[in-house]
């Protein structure tokens, strides 16, 4: 009898040796004449256990991890092909508390299936969302997304359905669906995991968007730092084409949706939607002034839906199970689930999909297990490099868009980066400004010049110049200008990490004043 073994093809798992483990298992199985079939799945997102190898046994999918090539012989000796106990034995993967406690909607298939198997995809509920959209028609499809309360998961949290309504109502001979897969925020990897672990969901979501607004061409703009995701997407599009999710006769109807992957080129700013559109058009990724909204005049001047990977990948389940099912999760105006990403100095880093409303403390300690270093957690940055630093005193804040905004912070794309008590928050404030200076597109002055001046101000503070108080006053004034005067979120939100560091960790800005001003 053939034993099926799952070994992730996720880039992070590969970075920890998953390919070498797969080779070692195949070699050892051949040596022992063991009849095994290796399936390369996505990752469940429990990265401290990667490479996490699962063996399909009578009891279920028994997990072992983290496995190195050196462990493989011992695993065979112990009888892991029948789920035997071993030092690395983790039990049934789905029963590991980290995973069992989650509410996986968008990520329900990630880690479970072979990402490029249409049979696996369908067996686990894939494809039903597009079928329903084609059945109920464009207007009802758009209204279903509106009713679900889904908001843009890229960070801005704009209601997805409203964007769709605008594009649907705009009359044009050609419209576009663009997927923003330029996931540049540090501490975020949910887009990457989804594209590598269940790309067909994203493709189905984009096809549904095309049906809803009358767009026949889609583009996925994926960053050049994600070669594994790009390769998986390209392979998945061919799988989707053969299955009728992409092409000229969607699921046998007359609906048309073509799809192409385009590679970015290392510019963080291209995660900003108008800059991304410029880049797709073959130009410098310089931000456009809005209006016009992309939904009215976007790519090549045509009505364009531009949504984040997770937003689009959440659409199939909304269509399949209904808006109500999705909006029953979450709190207040934050409906559904968010795939939080736990990274940095944390014991159990990974992906945690939960309904909005759990607290930072729950995610950091119940899921994360505290810091990796064992030292106290001093600060976390939520929402990427433009997100605020949050001190331990605010860890009971619920993860909810509005609750965060009320504290001068943002949930953003759901990335949470953990720092222990060795962090120098003045250095982190300087880094935020330096990042802005490096990544500014240069169109507006507050961002282009302000970031450079900000680094200079911080350098003086860090060097212990005697005019510290004047510098802090100037820094606050500069942040005010950037916040209110920048064209987009890069310049407009770089003050968040700077000001939050200053507010919550002022002692870090009080260096011994040893130099003249």
């Amino acid at each position: 009898m053939t034993t099926t073994i799952y070994i992730p093809r996720d880039a992070s798992a590969i970075s920890r040796g998953a390919d070498q483990v797969a080779h070692a298992i195949a070699d050892e199985a051949a040596r022992r004449n063991a009849d095994v079939k290796i399936v390369r799945n996505g990752s469940y997102g429990m990265f401290w256990l990667e490479p996490l190898v699962e063996v399909v046994c009578a009891a279920g999918r028994i997990a072992y991890g983290p496995v190195t090539p050196k462990d493989v012989k011992g695993l065979f000796d112990a009888g892991f092909l029948t789920g035997a106990t071993h030092r690395l034995h983790q039990g049934i993967a789905a029963r590991i508390p980290y995973l069992e406690k989650q509410e996986r909607l968008t990520f329900e298939r990630v880690g479970v299936i072979d990402p490029l198997s249409i049979d696996d995809y369908r067996a686990h509920g894939g494809g039903r969302g597009l079928a329903r959209a084609l059945e109920i028609g464009p207007a009802a499809t758009t209204e279903e997304v509106v009713k679900s309360g889904l908001r843009g998961r890229g960070g801005a949290a704009f209601p997805t359905g409203i964007k769709w309504r605008t594009a649907a109502a705009t009359v044009a001979p050609q419209k576009f669906i663009v997927c923003n897969a330029d996931e540049g925020d540090s501490g975020t990897f949910s887009d990457r995991m989804l594209m590598e672990g269940d790309p067909l969901t994203l493709i189905e979501g984009m096809a549904i968007a095309g049906v809803a607004v009358g767009a026949t061409q889609g583009y996925i703009y994926v960053r050049s730092e994600y070669p594994h995701a790009e390769a998986t997407l390209n392979a998945a599009i061919e799988v989707a084409r053969a299955a009728g999710y992409v092409g000229t006769h969607l699921l046998g109807t007359n609906a048309v949706f073509e799809l192409e992957v385009r590679r970015g080129a290392g510019a963080y700013i291209c995660g900003e939607e108008t800059s991304l559109l410029e880049s797709l058009e073959g130009k410098r990724g310089v931000v456009r002034a809005k209006p016009p909204l992309p939904a009215i005049a976007g790519l090549f001047g045509k009505p364009t839906i531009i949504n984040n990977v997770i937003s689009l990948a959440s659409v199939p389940i909304i269509l399949d199970r209904g808006a109500q099912y999705y909006s029953d999760y979450g709190m207040g105006q934050s409906k559904g689930t968010l795939a939080f990403q736990l990274a940095g100095n944390v014991k159990h880093p990974g992906l945690v999909e939960k309904a909005f409303g759990l607290t930072l403390r729950e995610i950091l300690y119940d899921f994360g297990g505290g810091s990796a270093s064992g030292r106290p957690i001093r600060a976390v940055q939520v929402g990427g490099p433009l997100g605020a630093y949050i001190p331990a005193s605010q860890f009971d804040l619920p993860l909810d868009y509005e609750a965060f905004i009320a504290k001068g912070a943002m949930v953003g794309h759901g990335g949470i980066v953990v720092f222990d008590d060795t962090v120098d928050m003045a250095q982190m404030a300087r880094y935020a400004l330096e990042f802005c200076a490096v990544e500014s597109c240069g169109k507006c002055t507050p961002c282009r010049i302000g970031s450079v001046r900000g680094v200079e101000i911080m350098d003086g503070i860090l060097a212990g110049k005697s005019d510290r108080d004047e510098r802090v006053t100037l820094l606050r004034s500069l942040c005010d200008t950037m916040l209110n005067g920048s064209l987009c979120a890069l310049g407009g939100m770089t003050p968040y990490p700077v000001l939050s560091a200053l507010e919550h960790f002022p002692q870090d800005f009080e260096k011994p004043q040893t130099q003249a001003a």
Binding site: A11, S12, I14, S15, R16, G45, F47, W48, E50, E183, G184, D185, S186, G187, T188, F189, D191, R192, S224, E225, Y226, P227, H228, R262, R263, G264, A265, G266, A267, Y268, S279, L280, E281, G282, K283, R284, G285, V286, F300, Q341, L342, A343, G344, N345, P349, G350, L351, A372, Q381, P385, G415, V417, V418, F419, D420, M428, Y431, F435, V438, E439
Partner: protein, 157 residues
């Protein structure tokens, strides 16, 4: 520029010229093949796409991914973003600069390695992260693991 490089540029242009927004795909295709965008490619691309040299140059120079000179035989990128900083990438970068005797963006004297910063590889759960040659991703890279990467790079073409 030799004939082979000129042919590479011509075929990159021919393959993508008729696609909407062809410039980035053309530049990627050239850099994937040659390792950088030769200055001589700029007017050729401009001519083919009806763009000025300034427009093409403007795009090449805007994007950090595109290089205007040949890199070393291998490119090693160390992530500088917050998650990796929280796990020691600043010290790792200092070690790398010292071990290789180059600054960021520099190439070692033997031409083996170009050291570059990168802002997030999406491997934040395995910080600090390093990318080798644009597709070989590593996680939890400490000084010893970095030295092993360097040794492997130096011993291969």
């Amino acid at each position: 520029m030799d004939e082979a490089a000129a042919a590479t540029i011509d075929s990159a242009i021919a393959a993508s010229k008729h696609r909407p927004g062809p410039l980035l795909p053309i530049l990627h295709s050239i850099q994937d093949a040659l390792g950088y965008i030769p200055a001589e490619a700029v007017p050729v691309i401009g001519q083919a796409l009806n763009l000025t040299r300034a427009q093409v140059h403007g795009v090449v120079s805007f994007y950090p991914h595109f290089r205007r000179s040949p890199p070393g035989r291998h490119v090693v990128q160390i992530c500088q973003a917050e998650s990796c900083q929280a796990m020691g990438s600043t010290a790792l970068t200092a070690h790398a600069r010292k071990a290789l005797g180059v600054d960021l963006h520099g190439t070692t004297a033997d031409g083996a390695i170009t050291l570059e910063p990168v802002y997030c590889l999406g491997n934040c759960a395995c910080s600090p992260a390093v990318m080798v040659d644009g597709n070989d991703l590593r996680g939890h890279v400490d000084n010893a693991a970095f030295d092993a990467i360097v040794d492997a790079c130096r011993s291969t073409r």
